[in-house]
């Protein structure tokens, strides 16, 4: 994937200036600009493969109902479909979660929280875009308050289409995600580091109230 081509401003100068930009250096540190640390895979390949297998079978999903897709996460996680038996579990805190499900549309206000949650998650981390709204705006393609393409703001590893995707489709999505993790194809977190400036520029283009503390320690 030639990501570089899609990045219009891959140098730091091109970042969009916001109202917070004129602050003193000390205060400016409060606002997220620090590039997160990339992580290396294990140096031994079989160790990495083993860990990938483990990661695939222990997916901790952040319990954040960002949009209407969350309504189908309820049946998924409960008795009827019981995703627990596939190693999919809900974690209430982003620090511990490894999968972020962006459940449908995200309003600008929520996007900020999504980014914040995403940055607090520890790598390797995976993002599932649920429903049409994450792919190309869906129902709300012309709404002034919802973003259209999620992958411009955070790296997305898998999309599941549908409105809403049924729990079965979600399960199938999880199976696909497992397959990808096992194959070592999910490098979203490192992509985020690599194209950090591009992502930040896009984020700042839509999020105008940028009082985001630095969560990339």
């Amino acid at each position: 994937m030639n990501k570089q081509d899609k990045n219009p401003g891959n140098n730091r100068e091109n970042l969009i200036k916001l109202e917070n930009a004129g602050l003193t250096a000390e205060e400016q540190q409060l606002f997220c600009d620090a590039v997160p640390v990339p992580y290396e895979p294990y140096s031994l390949e079989f160790v990495e493969r083993f860990h990938n297998w483990i990661r695939a079978n222990s997916l901790w999903v952040l319990a954040f109902g960002t949009g209407c897709g969350a309504i189908e996460l309820n049946p998924l996680m409960t008795s009827r479909f019981d995703a627990n038996r596939f190693g999919v579990m809900m974690r209430p805190t982003p620090r511990q979660a490894s999968v972020l499900i962006v459940a449908g549309y995200s309003s600008v206000k929520t996007l900020k929280r999504i980014i914040r949650s995403y940055e607090q998650m520890q790598g390797p981390k995976f993002v599932i875009g649920l429903g049409i709204c994450t792919i190309n705006g869906g129902m709300y393609y012309d709404s002034y308050n919802t973003i259209n393409c999620l992958d411009r703001y955070i790296p997305v590893d898998l999309y599941i289409t549908g409105c809403m995707p049924r729990p079965e489709a979600l399960l199938a999505g999880f199976m696909e995600l497992k397959r990808k993790i096992k194959a070592g194809e999910c490098d979203g977190a490192n992509r985020y580091v690599k194209d950090f400036d591009w992502y930040k520029a896009n984020q700042k283009k839509v999020i105008k109230k940028w009082d985001m503390p630095d969560y990339n320690w």
Partner: protein
């Protein structure tokens, strides 16, 4: 008395009420939409007293919602206060026209404890000011909004979207008439 009978009584109540309101508050326009719903137009400055009267004397204790309709062509906002009378099972919509320039309206938060939420929304979505209403200047549903209030008619959400949120490219649709012309009668039919 069955429902139909009740309704007849309510309709009569409604008509009498509208007459009373017209006498007392000079409502210049009365519109009966259906048996249990009428709209009254009152003057901007009489609104508070009209609402107070309806609430305390006529039993319209329930404020369903406050909303506004933007008549950009005629240059005014029409505020609409929907009240409900549980005993008579009738709705009445009290409407006020206010100017679109520097719009401002008397707050009703002292009449209904929930009134301020609606006013906060109207302030954010239409820029109508309600002096004295609690937290009216705080952000309500939007965050960091930097344009004109989005619910105004002149705000073009599609264009805004285009400017701000990237769309996925590769989408193009062909016009049917043009395609058929190009394929079937390329040189005919033009004028």
């Amino acid at each position: 008395m069955g429902y139909a009978g009740l309704q007849l009584v309510n309709t009569m109540f409604m008509q009498e009420l509208c007459e009373r309101m017209t006498r007392q508050f000079d409502c210049d326009q009365v519109m009966h939409q259906k048996d249990d719903l009428s709209f009254l137009r009152v003057d901007r400055d009489r609104l508070e007293s009209a609402l107070m009267y309806l609430k305390t004397h006529e039993g319209f204790v329930h404020l369903s919602f406050v909303t506004v309709i933007d008549y950009i062509e005629d240059g005014f906002f029409r505020l609409n206060y929907m009240l409900y009378n549980y005993d008579k099972a009738t709705n009445i919509g009290v409407q006020v026209d206010i100017t679109r320039e520097n719009p401002s309206m008397h707050s009703i938060h002292h009449l209904w404890a929930q009134g301020w939420t609606y006013q906060r929304e109207l302030k954010e979505m239409y820029g109508i000011d309600f002096p004295g209403s609690p937290r009216v200047d705080e952000e309500f549903v939007l965050e960091g909004w930097d344009g004109i209030p989005p619910m105004l008619r002149e705000f073009d959400t599609a264009k805004f979207c285009e400017d701000r949120f990237a769309k996925r490219d590769g989408r193009e649709s062909q016009d049917i008439k043009q395609t058929m012309r190009d394929n079937l009668y390329p040189e005919r039919g033009e004028s």
